[in-house]
C-alpha cells in the first residue's frame, strides 16, 4: 500500500492547528518536522527542475453564496449517472449553479452508470467534442443515494477513491446525502491510437472547499 506523505502545506496547516490548540510539545515536534521538510525540498529541487515539461494545473474555486463565480471547464453531475439520466433529486445543486459554469455534463438518454467505466474519460471526451478545447478543471457533485450493492455506486466510489477522495461517500451518507462541492485540478495527456482519441489522466488533485 502506498504511504501518503504529508506535504509542506499539510505540515504547515497542522502546525497552525497545534499552535491554536496550545500544545507546545507537539508544536516543537512539528516545527522540527517542518524544518526537515524544507531541507528535503531544497535537496529535491534541482532534480525536479530537470523534468521535461510539467503541465500546469488550473486551480478552480467553488462558487460561494456571496456570488463569486467559479471557473470550471465542466461539471460532472454524478447523480445523473447513477439514475441513468433520470433525475431523482431535482432541483439539484448542479442545476442551481449551471449559470456559473461553462457546461453541465449529463448522461445521454438511457445511459446507465454501468456503461460508464470511468467518468473522467467519458466526460473529457464529450466536452472536447463539444467545445474543441482543453479541459483542465472540473467540479464534481456526488450526492450518492443508491445503495452500495448497485454497481454504479461502486464504480463511483472506486473512481473517487482513485482520485484521493476517500471520505466523501461516508460523509454524504452521514449528512443525509448532502452534495459536497469539490474543486479539482487535473492534468492529462491526449493521444491518438489507431485513429481513436483517448484522454489519459496524469494527475488529479481535489480539495473539499465547502459543503454546499
Amino acid at each position: 500500500m502506498a504511504k501518503i506523505e504529508r506535504t509542506r502545506q499539510d505540515i504547515e496547516a497542522h502546525l497552525k492547528a497545534l499552535k491554536a490548540a496550545g500544545l507546545p510539545d507537539l508544536v516543537a515536534e512539528y516545527e522540527q518536522l517542518l524544518a526537515e521538510k524544507i531541507e528535503q525540498e531544497k535537496l529535491e529541487k534541482p532534480a525536479e527542475a530537470s523534468k521535461v515539461e510539467a503541465r500546469p494545473a488550473v486551480s478552480a474555486s467553488l462558487p460561494s453564496s456571496k456570488g463569486a463565480v467559479a471557473h470550471f471547464d465542466f461539471v460532472v453531475d454524478v447523480a445523473s449517472f447513477e439514475s441513468g439520466g433520470q433525475r431523482l433529486d431535482a432541483p439539484t445543486i448542479a442545476d442551481t449553479y449551471k449559470g456559473h459554469f461553462v457546461d453541465v455534463i449529463r448522461p445521454k438518454s438511457g445511459e446507465k452508470m454501468s456503461q460508464v467505466w470511468f467518468i473522467f474519460e467519458t466526460v473529457d471526451e464529450r466536452v472536447l467534442q463539444q467545445k474543441g478545447k482543453q479541459v483542465r478543471s472540473a467540479l464534481i457533485f456526488a450526492p450518492l443515494k443508491t445503495s452500495e450493492k448497485e454497481s454504479g455506486a461502486f464504480r463511483i466510489k472506486d473512481t473517487l477513491v482513485d482520485l484521493n477522495l476517500p471520505y466523501l461517500l461516508e460523509g454524504n451518507r452521514l449528512t443525509g446525502d448532502i452534495p459536497i462541492g469539490l474543486s479539482c485540478q487535473l492534468t492529462y495527456e491526449e493521444y491518438v491510437d489507431k485513429g481513436e482519441r483517448t484522454i489519459r489522466l496524469q494527475s488529479v488533485k481535489l480539495d473539499v472547499q465547502q459543503a454546499i
Binding site: I4, R6, D10, H14, L23, P166, L174
Partner: protein, 272 residues
C-alpha cells in the same frame, strides 16, 4: 509489523458504560485538532456532529468486507488529520462478527443466491435457529487485530480509542473486575498497547452529577497510566494531552477531583 513493535506515545484508551462521556471526549479532540474518527456506532455520530466534527473525517465501518477500502481511506487522511479516534471499538468488532454470521457456512448455502441467502440467514439468526460460526471467529479476530495494527502504525500524533466496559471474575480473587468490553484476546492485547487506559464514569458528589475519567490504579478496574494516575472531572482531550506532555504543563488535580479519586481508589489508599 507486530503490535509490540509499535511505539505509543499519546495513545489513550477509554472504557466506560454508555452515557459516561466517551464519545464526548472524542468530540473535544475533534474540536482541538483535525481528527479522523473511525466508528461503527451510528448513535455516537450525532454527538460528534453536534460537536462540529467534520463529516468528511468520519469513517463509518458498516461492512467488514470493505475493510481494505477503509484502510486505504484512513491512510489517505493522514494528510489532513493529526489525530485518530476510534469510537466504540467493540462495535467495530460486532460489525465484523455480523459479517461472519452472514457468510455461507457450507456448500449448500453457497449455492443459494447471495441476496436470498442473506435474508434467510438474518431471519434464522434472529430466531436463534442459525448455528453461530464460532470456528470462523478466530480468523476474524486476527483480521481485526491486523486492521488495528495497520491503523495504529500510521503516524497520527494522537490516538484515542473508546470502548464499552464489562465485568469479568478475577480468577485469583473471585471478585468482579471492570474490563474493556472487547471480544477474545483483544480484551488484553489491545489495552497493552496504550500508555493511558482510563475509565469513564458518572459520580455524584454533593448532589452534583459529575462526568469523571480516572486512570488511578484500582484492583477492580483495569486502568493504566504511564504518567501517574489521576482523576479528571469533565475531561477534555486537551487536558489529557497536557497530562501526557513532556513538560507536564497540566493543571493540578482539583479538590473535587481528588475526592472522586479517593472514593474510587482502593480502601488501603483511602486509609493512607
Amino acid at each position: 509489523m507486530e503490535l509490540s513493535q509499535i511505539e505509543f506515545d499519546r495513545n489513550v484508551m477509554v472504557m466506560g458504560a454508555s452515557g459516561t462521556g466517551k464519545t464526548h471526549l472524542i468530540g473535544t479532540l475533534c474540536q482541538l485538532l483535525p481528527t479522523l474518527v473511525i466508528t461503527s456506532d451510528k448513535n455516537g455520530l450525532e454527538t460528534l456532529l453536534n460537536m462540529n466534527a467534520s463529516p468528511q473525517n468520519i469513517v463509518l465501518i458498516e461492512d467488514w468486507r470493505r475493510c481494505w477500502d477503509y484502510l486505504q481511506n484512513i491512510e489517505k487522511s493522514l494528510r489532513q488529520c493529526l489525530a485518530l479516534a476510534i469510537d466504540d471499538f467493540g462495535s467495530v468488532q460486532t460489525a465484523a462478527k455480523r459479517k461472519i454470521e452472514l457468510m455461507p457456512a457450507n456448500w449448500k448455502e453457497e449455492r443459494i443466491p447471495l441476496l436470498e441467502f442473506t435474508i434467510e440467514a438474518r431471519r434464522r439468526l434472529l430466531l436463534g435457529e442459525r448455528q453461530m460460526q464460532l470456528r470462523q471467529w478466530g480468523k476474524l479476530w486476527t483480521a481485526i487485530e491486523s486492521f488495528l495494527i495497520e491503523i495504529l502504525s500510521l503516524p497520527f500524533k494522537v490516538r484515542l480509542l473508546t470502548t464499552l466496559e464489562t465485568t469479568v471474575n478475577d480468577p485469583r480473587t473471585g471478585d468482579e473486575v471492570i474490563v474493556p468490553a472487547l471480544v477474545g484476546q483483544a480484551r488484553t492485547s489491545i489495552p497493552a498497547k496504550f500508555s493511558l487506559v482510563a475509565e469513564a464514569f458518572v459520580s455524584e458528589i454533593d448532589s452534583q452529577r459529575l462526568f469523571c475519567l480516572s486512570s488511578e490504579p484500582h484492583p477492580r478496574v483495569e486502568t493504566k497510566d504511564r504518567y501517574a494516575g489521576r482523576v479528571w472531572i469533565n475531561p477534555t482531550a486537551k487536558r489529557l494531552l497536557q497530562h501526557m506532555s513532556k513538560d507536564k504543563q497540566e493543571e493540578v488535580e482539583s479538590e473535587i477531583e481528588r475526592r472522586v479519586g479517593f472514593s474510587f481508589a482502593p480502601k488501603e489508599r483511602v486509609q493512607e
